[in-house]
Subunit: 487 residues, 2 copies
C-alpha cells in the first residue's frame, strides 16, 4: 500500500530530478553553450522554473504532509525540507517571482557592462529595482520579521543577521590585530614565471585526484569564474588558468573539489531526496575552504606541492619549500574579494554584510552605496578604491539579487576552523600523510563525519555533529593566528 | 486582448522550450556526461518526459484548438502541428508510454552487450518485448489502420509503407544493375596512411565553415557516433576520428553540418514555434545527404579537398585529384550500413524496411529475424554475414523501438536527388565555385528554397516547393548512374 509519506517523497523525487536538470542547464550555459544560444536558453529556464514552482507549491502537498508519517529520522528531515520549501515558495506571488527572475537576469547583463566601463551610474537604476523587488519578496516571506533574515534562509537556514553581526564583532578585533602584525613584517617573495596552461591543468587534475574528486562522477572544464554544479553521481567543476599566477588555477581547483566532494559524498541512499545534497551555502563553503586552506595551504601540503610544481615546470624562483609556503600564504590588502588571502577575505565579507543589510532594511539608499563602499574600504583596508570595478562593482551577487548570501562565505571559514580543530584532534599524525600528498585520512574524516549526511541536520547541527562541539569563531581565529604568526 | 490562438501558441512555445531542454540533456548524455551519471539521468529524463506528455495532452488544448483562428498560413501550420501531436500522444495510455520508455532504455543496453559478444540469443527476449509494445502502441495510434504506417508518422508524416515499398521496387533494378556494372570494373586505389586527430579536426572545422555551419550558434565535439542536436540558435554537432580513415571524420562532419544548417537556417521568427524545426527525418536527411554526397563527394569539391588534405597532411598515396575522387567514391559491398557507399546504402535500407515491416505486421517472428537477415543479405549483397555484429545486431534502432525510421534515410537520398537536380538547373555554373571550396551559392539556394521554412509544409510539399516538381526517385538514380558510370 502506498502511504502519504511514499506519495510525497515520490513527488519530491521528481521535483529533485527536474532541479537537477535546471542545474545542468546552468552548467551548460556557463561552460559550453554557444554564444548566440542565450535568448533561447532564457525561455528554457523560465519554462522549467514555472514547472518547478508549480510542483513546489502543489496544493496537494498540504494534505500529503498532514497525513505523512516519517518512518525514520531521514524521512522526518525530508518532510521538514519539503514543508520549508513549499512554505517559502507559496508565500511569494507568481507575478513577483517572475518579475524577479526577469529583472535579475537583465540586471546581471547591465552590471557586467557597467563593470567593464567603470560606470556605477549605469548600474544603479537596475540595482534599485532589484533591491525593491527583493525587499518586497522578503516582506512576503518574513511575515513581519526582519527582511534580511528572511532572505538569509535561502542560503543558510537558521542563520540571522543579528547572530552574524555579533559573530563579526567578535572576529574583527583579532583579525585586524593579526593583519596589522603581518603587514608590519617584511613581505615574502611571490612566485614568478610563466606556467603553461597544459601543465597547470595536468597538475590541477592531479590535485583533484589527491583530494578525492571522483572523475567517473564528474569532469573539469575551463570557465572565466570557477564553479561546482550538480549532485550525487554527476558533480562537475570548472577552473581557470592565468599563466603568470598558477595558484589561481591550483587553489580554485582544490576549492571546487571541496564543494564537489560534499555533493559526491552524500549517501547514495539519499540521492534525489530533499536531503540528498549539501545543507547550506555555509556548510558547503566549509568543505571548499578546509580543502583549500586548512589542508591545501598547510605547510605539510605546500611542501608536497613545491615538489610537484618543480616536477611539472622545472626550477622555480623560490628555492626552498619554506619560501614556497610563504608565497602561497602571502597577505596583501587587495581590492578584490575573490583574490583575498585568508585574513582579508573575512574583512571583505563583513563590509558587504553591513552594506547589504542596510540596503535591505532601508537604512542605506542605493544612490549612496558607492560612497558607503569607498569610505568603508578605506577604513578597513587602509587603501582608497581606485575604480568601481575594483570596488562596488566587483561582485555579481547584488545584480543577481543575492542578498544574504555573502555572510555564508565567512560562516564557511568559521565552520572550516571548527572542523579543522576536531579533525586534527582525531588524527594527530595527519600532517605526515598530507606531506606525502595523501589526503585520504582527512577527506575520509570529513566524509564520515559530515559529507555523507547531506542535509539531514540543520547547518549548525551538521557542524556540531561532525566536531562534537557547537561551532564558534574561536578555532578559526586560533588557527589563523598560529599559522600567520609563524610565517 | 489575448485570443485562443495566442493562448495555444504561448502554451506550445513553453512546451517547445522544455523539448529543447530534453534535446540538450540528450546531447549532454552522449557527449560530456560522466560515466556514473546515467542512473540519475534516467530519472531526470523520465520526470521531464512526464511533464512534456502532460503538456502535449493538456485537456484545455481541445477547447483552445476549437476556438483558435490562425491569422496566417504559418499560424495554421502551427495549429495543425499542435493538433497532430496532441492526437498522437493522447491515443497512447500513460502506462504504455512509460513501459515503452523503460523497456527500450534497457533493451539498448542489452543490445550493446549482445553486439559486443555477437550473442543474438541474449538480445531476442528484449527485442520481443520492444516489438510487442510498439505493436500495441501502433494499434492505439492506427485506430484500425496499418501498424507500420502508424509508426512511420512519427518520423515522416504522410509516408506509408505501401508507397515506400513501391518506390523501392522502382529503385531496386536500376541500383542493382549499376552495382553490378561497378563491381565488374577494377576497384580504385583507396586512400592510405595515418592522419593525426588534430589535423583531421582542423580540417573538419574548415569544412564545417565552408558548408556554412554557424559556430556562434553551435559547437563540435567528439563522440563515438556522430549526431546533430538542437534547434535555432543552439545546434550542436559531433564527429569522430579514425586515424587511418580520415573520410570518416570529414564526411560525417559535412553530413551533420547538413542537418545543422537546416535547424540553424529556420526563420528566427518561427523559433520555439511548433513549426520552428525540420519537418521530418526524410527532409532532414535530404539536407545532410546533399551536403555530404551531391556536393561533398562531387568531382568539383573533392578536387578542392585533395588540395586541402595535402596542405594539412603533406603528400598522399594518391597523386592526382581524379584518383582522390575515385577513392572518395569507392563502391564496395560491406556489411555495415553506416559505412556504405551511395549505392549500397539504399540496398541496406530496403532490406531493413522489409524486415521491420514484416515484424510489425506480424508476418515475421523475432526468433526468425537473424535467419531472415542473413538470407536476404546474401541475396542482395552477394556475401555471407560473418558475424551478428556485422549483421542483424549492427544497428541500435530496433532496440530503441525505432520501427518505421529506416526508410527515411532512403527518402532523404531521394529528396536530395530532387533538390540536386533543381539546384543545378537554377545554378548552372555551381561547380566552378564548389571547386574553389565556395559552397555559398549551394547552401544559400537550399536555405532560401527549403531550410528557412522549417515545418511550414508537409515533407513532400516541402520538397516540391523547393524543387518546383513532385519528388520521385528518378533524379537520384539518374545522378548515381551518371556519376558512377563516369568513375
Amino acid at each position: 500500500m502506498t502511504t502519504a509519506f511514499d506519495t510525497v517523497i515520490a513527488h519530491a523525487r521528481e521535483t529533485a530530478a527536474l532541479e537537477a536538470v535546471m542545474t545542468r542547464l546552468g552548467w551548460d550555459q556557463r561552460t559550453v553553450m554557444p554564444h548566440r544560444g542565450s535568448a533561447q536558453r532564457a525561455e528554457e529556464l523560465a519554462a522549467l522554473e514555472k514547472v518547478l514552482h508549480a510542483r513546489r507549491t502543489d496544493p496537494r502537498l498540504a494534505d500529503w504532509l498532514d497525513a505523512a508519517k516519517a518512518p525514520t529520522p531521514e524521512g522526518a528531515a525530508m518532510l521538514r525540507e519539503i514543508a520549508r520549501t513549499r512554505d517559502r515558495h507559496a508565500r511569494v506571488p507568481d507575478t513577483l517571482a517572475a518579475e524577479l527572475a526577469r529583472v535579475t537576469s537583465t540586471a546581471q547583463d547591465i552590471w557586467a557592462d557597467a563593470r567593464r566601463h567603470d560606470n556605477v551610474a549605469a548600474f544603479l537604476p537596475a540595482l534599485e529595482q532589484v533591491v525593491a523587488l527583493r525587499r518586497e519578496e522578503a516582506a512576503a516571506i518574513a511575515d513581519g520579521g526582519d527582511p534580511y533574515d528572511a532572505l538569509m534562509q535561502d542560503y543558510e537556514p537558521g542563520a540571522s543577521g543579528a547572530d552574524t553581526a555579533a559573530m563579526f564583532d567578535r572576529m574583527r578585533p583579532r583579525l585586524v590585530a593579526l593583519r596589522e602584525a603581518i603587514l608590519g613584517a617584511p613581505t615574502p617573495e611571490p612566485l614568478r614565471g610563466d606556467f603553461a596552461q597544459d601543465g597547470q591543468l595536468r597538475l590541477a587534475r592531479k590535485l583533484a585526484e589527491a583530494f578525492g574528486y571522483d572523475f567517473t562522477a564528474g569532469r573539469i572544464d575551463l570557465t572565466v569564474h570557477p564553479f561546482c554544479a550538480g549532485h550525487g553521481a554527476d558533480v562537475r567543476i570548472t577552473t581557470r588558468v592565468v599563466e603568470t599566477q598558477p595558484f589561481n588555477c591550483l587553489y580554485s581547483t582544490i576549492h571546487e573539489v571541496g564543494h564537489a566532494a560534499y555533493e559526491q559524498g552524500v549517501d547514495p541512499e539519499l540521492a534525489l531526496s530533499p536531503i540528498g545534497r549539501g545543507v547550506s551555502m555555509g556548510v558547503h563553503e566549509s568543505q571548499s575552504r578546509i580543502y583549500e586552506n586548512q589542508l591545501g595551504r598547510s605547510r605539510a601540503f605546500t611542501g608536497w606541492l613545491f615538489d610537484a610544481m618543480r616536477a611539472e615546470f622545472g626550477p622555480l624562483n623560490l628555492d626552498d619549500a619554506d619560501a614556497f609556503h610563504a608565497a602561497v600564504n602571502r597577505v596583501t590588502p587587495g581590492y578584490i574579494r575573490t583574490e583575498a588571502d585568508e585574513i582579508h577575505y573575512n574583512l571583505h565579507i563583513m563590509m558587504r554584510f553591513d552594506l547589504e543589510r542596510d540596503l535591505l532594511q532601508g537604512k542605506l539608499d542605493v544612490t549612496d552605496l558607492e560612497e558607503a563602499w569607498n569610505t568603508r574600504f578605506q577604513a578597513d583596508f587602509g587603501v582608497a578604491v581606485d575604480r568601481p570595478a575594483n570596488g562596488v562593482l566587483q561582485d555579481v551577487h547584488w545584480s543577481a539579487g543575492l542578498f544574504g548570501y555573502f555572510p555564508t562565505y565567512s560562516l564557511g571559514n568559521v565552520y572550516a576552523g571548527c572542523l579543522n580543530r576536531a579533525m586534527r584532534a582525531d588524527l594527530p599524525n595527519l600532517d605526515t600523510r598530507v606531506a606525502q600528498g595523501d589526503l585520504r585520512a582527512a577527506t575520509g574524516w570529513l566524509h564520515d563525519r559530515l559529507q555523507r549526511f547531506g542535509a539531514l541536520r540543520d547547518p549548525r547541527d551538521t557542524i556540531k555533529a561532525a566536531c562534537g562541539f557547537a561551532p564558534t569563531e574561536a578555532p578559526l581565529l586560533d588557527y589563523l593566528e598560529t599559522k600567520f604568526r609563524a610565517l
